[in-house]
């Protein structure tokens, strides 16, 4: 027997019991981990051990109102790497480099990143993808993704917009309806090992993506094509800075077409400068509407009951408002006329008079109710509000100029919405671009109904405006918009571009036409705006009205709008019966009256004598000015003996003329010009009407047009205004 056996035994039992106790504790601990904590731990394990591969949801298509595809998605291949699976990153990089056209060193860096997923190239073309497939590289995989495709290329890209590399909407409808279009990405959850490799018989879970909704637009592809065709023609003819055509269904507020120039291709937007694709001029561009705004003035006049169609107006050719002379576009004025004729003639004086009758409060009420100064709420990104002098700051002069569409800026969408309100009987509707949202299987999710913003004028008031606008086209300034067998209502507009510092910029115009047809039951309203046409022609009646005519004619035929039979172009339009030719006013100063008259009629001009005598000592318009034939030239007469003879001439009013115009005028008078400053004439050394010796030198001060503030338009004498045709307050049809 061993010594101390009992003692050793006792102590060994203690050690055994302690060990057993410890091990039983560990069994308890194990039970707690596996039963109490188990579910949590298991879920956490699943979370950690699963690789989550997002599955792109198919982005919804965009259709036109007739179901024609405007935007769809096509499958393309992207290539990615799982760096941990790449055994020879250097070799792999060298093989990939020529195919992907990337640096070897860059690819090497990507391939050796400590991550489990790296993009090598997104949305590659078919050839590149096939080449990569044929390389058969370890750890490099292709993934099918979808890419936005715009089959119509350059058709309506501003409206449709485009989506980025991750199919996220960036502009246009793609952006404003991104939430509906994008859908919900799905996931493939696959078990992986700790370094990201696939494991045999992995746990898998597939959460299918929810396909994005499709949009059915209000756009009609055919009408859009007409619009794009006409825009292309405008570009060819006038190379404008900007051109916009919007076609709207006035009964519903649905936009049928929206086109802009310059344009781009949604498929290749990256190749286009940002300023072309990042804004949609139809909803963004603020411009002075000019005479097209007279529609609003008319409606306000009828609405506030300050004018009737038969009210007499008198136009002497200009009107004085608060020390300011506002000229009518027709030199010498329209004389006596009813308001109906004022409208057909687009007579500035008449409309200024109407504006003054309305006053600030009444006029602003209608301007606001027609939606100017605020966004229309069309669901497109980047809409502007236009510019409106705050009502509290508005003066009578402002009202007078706003009545003829000046000192107010509007966006094309605002104006066509307002005109649509006139067309549909007085209700302002929210312009809409989307008719329906449908889910992936084509079931209707949401349909859009016309959204009434407010009633602005009564049915009767609207129909009065419509009739007057019909006259404008039938026999007035809008003749070029006439469509056979359709009753067309509309208004032309020519305005000067407001420069960056508020003043008008000489020689830069916005020509526009806005109208609707058929005017008794309008199917469409259309606005044509051409900013800064080149080549000398810039009147709305010449540039924009024929475009309206072409778009509206083709669209009405396409829509099978009911015709009004035997509606022919009136044989004897109200004015402008004869073809209008531009002529240069001859210099008749210092000529005998008879000879002067002969010279004028030889140029196709008429005359009006002013004063007594047999020698012409002054003429308006000034010599050298370009006017249309038939324009009256006012001749100031003076007895021969009182005249200082051939040695002296009468100083003309030069204010507001450009340097070239001044130079030509003074050269005709045998005067030498001493220039001071640049821009347009601010003041002159010799006051107008003063006799100066031929051959003497006249000092003229010029100033940049921008320095003349918005409120203080350069005034021009009637003589000068017609000569450049673009005086701030002179409106041309």
């Amino acid at each position: 027997m061993a010594p101390n056996t009992v003692f050793v035994r006792k102590r060994l039992t203690v050690v055994l019991l302690l060990s057993g106790f410890a091990l039983f504790c560990l069994i308890g601990r194990l039970a707690w981990i596996q039963f109490v904590w188990g579910k949590d731990l298991e879920n956490k394990a699943l979370e950690v051990r699963m690789r989550d591969i997002p599955v792109e949801a198919k982005r919804g298509n965009i259709y036109d109102r007739n179901g024609r595809v405007l935007v769809s998605s096509v499958s393309v291949d992207s290539v990615y790497a799982i760096p941990s699976l790449i055994r020879e990153p250097q070799k792999t990089a060298e093989k990939l480099s020529p195919v992907l056209k990337e640096d070897v060193s860059f690819l090497y860096r990507v391939l050796t990143r400590p991550s489990c997923f790296e993009w090598l190239g997104r949305k590659l073309d078919l050839k590149t993808a096939q080449k990569i497939k044929s390389l058969n590289l370890n750890g490099v995989f292709l993934l099918e993704e979808s890419k936005r495709f715009y089959p119509l290329q350059t058709i309506a890209p501003h409206l449709l917009g485009f989506a980025g590399i991750d199919n996220q909407g960036l502009t246009g409808i793609e952006k404003s309806y991104d939430d509906q279009l994008k859908g919900t990405p799905g996931r493939i959850i696959v078990e992986q090992d700790a370094v990201g490799q696939d494991v045999p018989e992995p746990l898998r879970k597939y959460l299918p993506p929810k396909q994005g909704s499709s949009l059915v637009l209000t756009i009609d592809e055919t009408i859009q094509q007409f619009v794009e065709r006409e825009l292309d023609k405008i570009v060819l003819k006038y190379q404008p800075k900007l051109a916009v055509i919007v076609v709207m269904d006035p009964g519903t507020g649905e936009i049928l077409a929206i086109g802009n120039r310059p344009t781009f291709n949604s498929n290749k937007w990256e190749n286009t400068p940002a300023y072309i694709w990042d804004r949609n001029p139809a909803i963004w561009y603020n411009y002075e509407p000019g005479s097209t705004f007279k529609i609003v003035t008319m409606a306000a006049g009828f609405g506030a009951e300050v004018v009737k169609r038969t009210d007499p107006f008198f136009c002497p050719g200009y009107v004085r408002v608060a020390d300011r002379i506002i000229n009518c576009w027709l030199d010498g004025g329209h004389g006596s006329q009813t308001f109906e004729e004022v409208a057909a003639n687009s007579c500035n004086v008449g409309f200024v008079e109407l504006g003054l009758r309305l006053g600030v409060k009444n006029f602003y009420k209608y301007i606001n109710e027609f939606g100017f100064g605020e966004r229309t709420g069309i669901n497109l990104p980047g809409e502007e509000t236009g510019l409106l002098i705050p009502e509290k700051d508005a003066t009578n002069l402002n009202v007078a100029t706003m009545a003829i569409g000046q000192s107010i800026a509007v966006t094309p969408i605002q104006l066509i919405s307002a005109v649509s309100a006139i067309a549909n009987g007085g209700t302002l509707l929210r312009p809409q671009v989307v008719r329906e949202i449908r889910d992936g299987s084509g079931n209707l999710i949401k349909g859009f109904k016309p959204e009434v913003i407010r009633r602005v004028v009564t049915e009767k008031e609207a129909s009065q405006v419509r009739e007057l606008l019909e006259n404008v086209v039938a026999k007035g300034t809008g003749k070029n918009a006439f469509i056979e067998n359709y009753r067309v209502a509309g208004k032309t507009g020519t305005a000067q571009v407001v420069g960056e510092n508020g003043g008008y910029v000489s020689g830069r115009y916005v020509s526009s036409f806005v109208g609707f047809a058929p005017s008794d039951q309008p199917r469409l309203a259309c606005l044509v705006m051409v900013a800064e046409p080149q080549g000398g022609i810039y009147y709305g009646s010449q540039v924009a009205a024929p475009v309206f005519q072409a778009v509206a004619r083709d669209s009405l035929h396409y829509l099978r709008a009911p015709e009004t039979p035997n509606l022919k172009k009136p044989p004897n339009p109200f004015i402008y019966e004869e073809p209008r030719i531009k002529v240069k006013v001859p210099n008749v100063i210092n000529y005998p009256v008879n000879e002067g008259i002969k010279m004028l009629s030889g140029s196709g001009l008429t005359y009006q004598l002013n004063g007594q005598g047999n020698v012409i000592y002054g003429q308006t318009p000034a010599p050298g000015a370009e006017v249309y034939n038939g324009v009256k030239v006012v001749l100031n007469l003076k007895p021969l003996e009182e005249s200082s003879g051939a040695g002296s001439v009468t100083m003309p009013n030069l204010k507001g003329l450009t340097m070239g115009e001044v130079a030509e005028l003074l050269r005709n008078l045998d005067l030498n010009l001493e220039l001071n400053g640049t821009g347009i004439v601010e003041s002159q050394e010799q006051p107008p009407g003063k006799k100066v010796k031929r051959g003497s030198t006249v000092r003229v001060n010029f100033t940049p047009p921008g320095l003349i503030t918005f409120e203080e338009q350069p005034e021009k004498a009637p003589a000068a205004s017609e000569s450049i045709g673009g005086n701030a307050f002179v409106e041309r049809p």
Binding site: A2, P3, L12, V15, S19, I27, R29, L30, L41, A45
Partner: protein, 368 residues
């Protein structure tokens, strides 16, 4: 002294063989994925190796089972010198092989070998021999306790230099338990306890990674990608097992999620694949093994046999407790294998060899 030789403890042998078989199967299952990857590219790589080591270990076990244990006394001094020498040799740069930041291995041709596993056995044999020679001395702090303490400290420090905290703790712990079993006074034991706690604290504070591991055990979610990674994955693996487990070979933690899955953390894979039932049975088998081991110590015919059995089975018990404690996040992380189960040649061979000695002692049991 009369010794009657009979058959070895059958229960002990049976439990041992069950554990060994289960271990080989679990090594296969847990290394399945790792082995298919480069550089192994062979599903059976670890399984085959473990099988070979097990056969070598079993051979050693059967030899020692039939080699009467008291004959080891004559080797005791030599074993001590050889053991300490090997611990020094393994620390010589370029002689000892460095793996995962630890210099624990010696290369012997195609095989590598961990001296610490051998030294563990050497020190137990020497201590049993030294204590049993003059058992009364153990009552004396200076001549009975101190030399063995210094020996334990020396070997522990040498092992710590590799560094291998787990083995150091087990070597020192086994010696201390032998002193206790031999009849050391309680105040000496208390002093040893204090010194041990101080040494352990010092070792932990000295190396920052040990401190981090220590903190990771307290709050594994604090740094789930760093030091908490081991323990978090171990817990997730155990937690996924539930009562019955995912089934043999069907676990997911072996996909490299649990580090050291076929060595130190093999118990986590057992818990996942065999569930609470399987893992609980493993612990129960170890409890039976330890019980039979201590029974062999108690029934040993002489104090050398009793102390030798005590040392051997204490080492096993400590190793099991520490390993499972670590895997269940009950103890700070220490790299240590689960005896008879974890993959590892030296550990398996020397564990089986020491079990051979234990079985031999059981053959001379005085109670039948």
């Amino acid at each position: 002294m009369t010794r009657t030789k009979s058959s070895p403890d059958f229960i002990l042998l049976l439990v041992l063989l069950i554990l060994l078989s289960l271990g080989i199967i679990m090594v296969f299952s847990s290394s399945l994925w790792y082995a298919t990857l480069p550089p192994f590219n062979d599903t059976f790589y670890f399984f085959r190796k473990q099988l070979i080591w097990a056969l070598i270990g079993l051979a050693g076990m059967f030899v020692l089972m039939n080699y009467d244990y008291w004959r080891l006394k004559r080797w005791a001094n030599l074993m001590l010198v050889a053991g300490i020498a090997l611990l020094v040799v393994v620390l010589i740069p370029h002689v000892g092989v460095v793996r995962q930041g630890a210099q624990r291995w010696l290369n012997l041709g195609p095989l590598s070998f961990q001296p610490a596993e051998f030294v563990k056995l050497c020190l137990v044999v020497f201590t049993a021999y030294g204590l049993s020679r003059q058992l009364e001395r153990v009552k004396n702090s200076f001549i009975g306790i101190l030399p063995f303490l210094l020996l334990a400290a020396l070997s522990a420090v040498l092992i710590l230099l590799e560094p291998d905290l787990g083995t150091a703790v087990i070597v020192a712990g086994a010696i201390v338990i032998m002193l206790f079993a031999a009849g050391a006074r309680m105040r000496d034991m208390a002093g040893i306890g204090l010194i041990g706690a101080a040494a352990l604290g010092g070792a932990i504070w000295k190396e920052p990674y040990r401190l981090k591991r220590f903190l990771a055990f307290l709050d594994p979610e604090k740094d789930p990608q760093g030091t908490g990674w081991h323990i978090l994955n171990s817990l997730m693996s155990l937690g996924s097992g539930g009562l019955l487990g995912t089934g043999l070979g069907r676990g997911h933690a072996k996909y490299l999620w649990v580090p050291e899955r076929h060595t130190d953390f093999i118990f986590a894979i057992i818990g996942e694949e065999l569930g609470f039932i399987g893992a609980g049975i493993v612990i129960l088998l170890f409890i039976i093994l330890i019980w039979r081991g201590f029974r062999a110590a108690v029934t040993a015919p002489d104090s050398f046999g009793a102390l030798l059995a005590t040392g051997i089975i204490s080492g096993i018990a400590l190793q099991v407790i520490i390993n499972i404690g670590v895997v269940t996040s009950s103890l700070p992380i220490t790299g240590i294998t689960l005896p008879f189960i974890s993959f590892g040649g030296s550990s398996l061979v020397f564990s089986l060899a020491s079990m051979g000695i234990l079985l031999n002692i059981s053959r001379f049991s005085v109670y039948k």
